[in-house]
Amino acid sequence: MKRVVTVLVVLVLIGLCAFSCVIGPLGQKWVVQPHVQMAAETFPIGPVRVPNSLMGMLLAGLVLIGLFAAGTRHIRAGRPEAMVPRGLQNLVEAIYEFLANFLRGILGERSEKMLPLLITFFLFILVANWVKLIPGFETIGLIEHAHKGEGHAVRQVGPLLFLTHEKGKYTLIPILRAANTDLNVPLALALISVFMTQVYGVQALGWGYFSRFINIKALTSGGLMGVMNFLVGLLETLSEFTKIISFGFRLFGNIFAGMVLLVVIPSLVPFVAPVAFYILELFVGAVQALVFMMLTAAFTAVATAGHGEHH
């Protein structure tokens, strides 16, 4: 019985896929073709134009603050119930414990001061990546006049306006867009990450931390090897700047590509196939958040371990 059901489900899925492979190309006549724009669209609030990625970022922040404010309300109020966590508090504590233990494994004893920043990186990027999977992101918005001649016609259904496939002079400005699909957000996170690495390095090693970059002592003392060490220091300086680029573009590239994928795949195969890519995007979002946190932790571990310690 179970096997029959499984076979039926698989057959129905294959059928739907085949159906949508046929319907998809036909449907392209009636469906609005995907339009991908790298810069965030802006829509007016009062006198200023606000980028829609800011809205996505604020939404992610609100979700995160709401979750943790609700989860820790007993602790903050100092109530005795906080000693025996229930419901949401359990979840919040489990998330924190898991991440904190994970990071303690990488950073060792010095981790306590860095935990807030690193865990915030992880949770913010994770939530920002996951909220974009809510239907309505990048599809609900304001209808405006298109700048160039590439707009669509609109049709009114009840109180709502829809874009149609026909050529016209209107375009959609989505209200919500994933924060990390706007290069400014990942770059800002990357700048914070690299800057804080320097701060932790100085905290751990004093101003001698900067001898990692400009190693005058090696230059004056140690002959040929000293010159080599000095040049290695210059390379280290360069690598701090490449870190900013690779942090920023890694996050941006992955999440932006995910957004494009989720727009293009439904326009090719409208049924079933997008589900698989939604699951892939959940995974990619989590992995990118983890990678961002772990790389920051690893670079911090390198920066706080002194040059002299392993000699």
Partner: protein, 76 residues
């Protein structure tokens, strides 16, 4: 050839060719990680950490290709 066409072709080639090396590299890292976990399952936590670090460094090369492709598409 048209300048627009060349731009598209160059961007596609930049990211397409630039992704080959990192792809192989990440595959090798995954292979190493899986083998290491298979031989010493208790160390899987450390292996995962180091694996993701190595993947990130390999991926950085692909990111440079992505940057070049994006510059070609949107800036040049």
């Amino acid at each position: 050839m048209d300048k627009e066409v060349m731009k598209l072709l160059a961007a596609a080639l930049a990211i397409g060719l630039g992704a080959i090396g990192p792809g192989i590299g990440i595959g090798l890292v995954g292979l190493g990680g899986a083998q290491a976990t298979g031989r010493n399952p208790e160390a899987s936590g450390t292996i995962l950490t180091n694996m993701i670090l190595a993947i990130a460094f390999a991926e950085a090369i692909a990111i440079y290709a992505l940057v070049v492709a994006l510059i070609l598409l949107f800036v040049v």
